[in-house]
């Protein structure tokens, strides 16, 4: 393989047949080129979908209760179901082992917020500290809600980046006092950003205990959100999440005496379940693209094999001469296989670089909701290179065997 002399021989023969070598290379190069583009696009789609679902933690379970719509066990429909701190605590205790982050929420959907002469309407959410991770929020300035804020029901607020833009265009909001619903003062202690964008950044978070107090809610909460501990892989996490969601739903139906088929009254949504079909789709797309790509490469490799057969046929006499001069069969075999590997690998690498290059150049222009950062990673590149070398060896093997079986006397008679 690293025999310099043999490489010399191979370069000699290749340079004698430039056009043929070029055409052969073209089929392999385009095969790899197409594979790389397909893999790039599929990884772009995967990234795009992942981005779509990264607004919130993907392993999130959210629990809301509304009003019953069905009569059940003598209870009339239209009953309002109100969760309280006690419900939250009992769920926490029951599912302690499976829960990663947890919060109960009391939300006020349209709160009036004033700062000096500026004002706006924003969603006010009373939350626990874990909300930051459940929402995938990142702190831009200051801090998030602390345990002591909750314990002491402090009037502190963490505002979304959009609110900061609206109310504090030029000033540092940390430490400033904002007026909520025209009667309560809150101190801004932090600003967060959220991958969900403007809509999700138009909220302010306050301690849930404070929210219950200022809105006169006592122990009432209107939502609970959890994230599930990640399992070994996506599928396992999805299964755990689904089981936990179903179990929680069952608990609440028993607790509030709700008909099993009343889908409106209690909703336990599992974001993993929502995301699963999309991730399944990505896997399918990836498999299909690999399939198409490999098919293209096989076509290219068969091309190389064909050409090598022609090469052997054309060089029958030369191979006969070589054998008459003392070439061993193994040397003839290696000569043909090495030439084949050389052509496939070189052409393949050119295809690989062109493909990666095109993806690099074109990536910014095909950025949209479903495709994001379409690139081919290093592992994939190495895999394709290995595939190429193997493919080259396979493509060369049959022609090489044929070459080795050439009888010198017959070859020398061949004019």
């Amino acid at each position: 393989m690293f025999n310099l002399e043999r490489w010399q021989e191979i370069f000699d023969t290749i340079s004698k047949n430039k056009l043929r070598t070029f055409l052969t290379s073209l089929s392999v190069a385009s095969g790899i080129f197409i594979l790389v583009i397909l893999l790039g696009v599929s990884s772009g789609i995967a990234n795009g979908v992942r981005e779509q679902f990264s607004n919130d933690a993907t392993n999130r379970i959210q629990i809301t209760t509304r009003t019953t719509t069905k009569e059940y066990k003598g209870l009339n429909p239209g009953r309002r179901l109100q969760m309280t701190n006690a419900d939250y605590e009992s769920l926490n205790n029951k599912y302690e082992d499976q829960i990663e982050y947890k919060t109960s929420l009391y939300s006020n959907w349209g709160g009036q917020v004033n700062y000096k002469d500026k004002q706006g309407r924003y969603r006010i959410e009373g939350v626990y500290a874990d909300q930051q991770f459940i929402e995938n929020a990142t702190l831009a300035y200051g801090r998030f809600i602390a345990e002591s804020d909750i314990a002491e029901s402090r009037k502190v607020a963490i505002i979304g980046y959009q609110m900061k833009e609206d109310l504090f265009p030029d000033t540092d909001p940390i430490g400033e006092i904002i007026l909520v619903n025209n009667n309560i003062n809150f101190t801004v202690v932090g600003v967060y950003t959220d991958p969900g964008g403007t809509r999700e950044e138009s909220r302010l978070f306050i301690p849930v205990t404070t929210a219950q107090k200022v809105f006169n809610q006592g122990q009432n909460i209107n939502r609970i959100a959890y994230t599930v501990n990640m399992g070994k892989d996506f599928d396992e996490t999805a299964i755990l999440g689904a089981q936990m969601a179903a179990s929680i739903e069952q608990d609440l139906r028993t607790r509030f005496v709700v008909a099993p088929d009343d889908r409106v009254a209690i909703r336990v949504s599992d974001s993993l379940e929502q995301a699963k079909p999309y991730f399944d789709l990505i896997d399918t797309i990836k498999a299909v693209f690999w399939f198409i790509g490999l098919g293209t490469i096989i076509a290219g490799v068969v091309g190389v094999g064909n050409i090598m057969l022609i090469v052997v046929k054309e060089r029958t006499k030369e191979i006969g001469i070589r054998k008459a001069l003392g070439a061993l069969p193994s040397e003839i075999i290696m000569m043909i296989i090495q030439e084949s590997i050389f052509i496939t690998s070189t052409a393949g690498l050119i295809g690989l670089f062109l493909g990666v290059g095109l993806l690099e150049i074109a990536a910014p222009y095909i950025q949209n909701d479903f495709i994001n950062n379409p690139t081919v990673d290093f592992t994939t590149s190495i895999t394709t290179v290995i595939i190429l070398v193997i493919a080259g060896a396979i493509a060369g093997f049959i022609p090489a065997r044929r070459a080795a079986n050439i009888k010198p006397i017959e070859a020398l008679r061949d004019e």
Partner: protein
């Protein structure tokens, strides 16, 4: 150098078997220049192929430089050919995309001789056949006589025990034929054993011994007074 006893060879084509060599006893001593003559179908090509280990006999024994040549597989045959034999063909059989020097060096490549040494040796033999100035010419830039001289240099390059020439002048005109034969005679003078297959009597007269084949048997084996090719030129 060559000891052959009771050599038989037949070719099967379908149900019929063609008995080509019907018991040949033949020996060559070191330094001989022997021509093998015969009309087409006499079996002389088959005989040469067996001598050249390009084909194997059905029965009989063949010793070359005290080495029994039998049970050849491809690999051993290739090694023996490389070690013992130099071939000169009627149609030269140079590799078209290699220049004269590389063609001459090729047997040495298969002996795993380093490139530098290979090129030196090849150049030496090209000088010997008077083509040193043509070392970097491709075969199609050479005349027929020059090609055959390159082929002779190549046959000599591996320093073989025996040179086998199959109709070496068959594709050449009279004058060039004489030049090639002169070269062959010169090499023989240096002590190398050479076998020439030919159907031209005047070429045969330039060797030291003529063996006549007919219908797969040697019918005549005589020493002759060698005519120097230089006398013709």
């Amino acid at each position: 150098m060559i000891e052959i006893t009771d050599l038989h060879k037949s070719y099967k084509t379908g149900n019929t078997s063609l008995h080509v060599l019907k018991g040949i006893d033949f020996s060559v001593k070191e330094g001989e220049l022997v021509s093998i003559m015969g009309s087409s179908g006499s079996g002389k090509s088959t005989f040469l192929n067996i001598l050249g280990m390009l084909d194997e006999a059905d029965s009989g024994s063949y010793n070359l430089d005290n080495t029994p040549i039998k049970n050849l597989n491809e690999k051993i045959a290739a090694q023996y050919r490389n070690k013992f034999l130099g071939f000169i063909f009627q149609s030269f059989n140079l590799i078209s995309y290699k220049n004269a020097l590389d063609n001459v060096a090729l047997p040495l490549y298969y002996q795993k001789v380093s490139r530098k040494e290979r090129d030196e040796k090849a150049m030496h033999y090209l000088e010997k056949v008077g083509l040193a100035d043509w070392a970097d010419h491709l075969p199609n830039q050479l005349s027929g006589g020059q090609k055959q001289r390159v082929a002779i240099a190549r046959a000599l390059a591996s320093d073989p025990k025996v040179l086998l020439a199959d109709e070496p002048t068959g594709a050449l005109d009279t004058k060039t034929s004489c030049e090639v034969m002169e070269l062959i005679q010169g090499i023989n003078e240096e002590g190398r054993t050479i076998l020439v297959v030919t159907h031209e009597p005047d070429i045969a007269q330039m060797t030291k011994r003529i063996v006549n084949l007919k219908d797969g048997r040697i019918i005549d084996d005589t020493l002759v007074n060698q005519i120097k090719a230089s006398a013709y030129v």
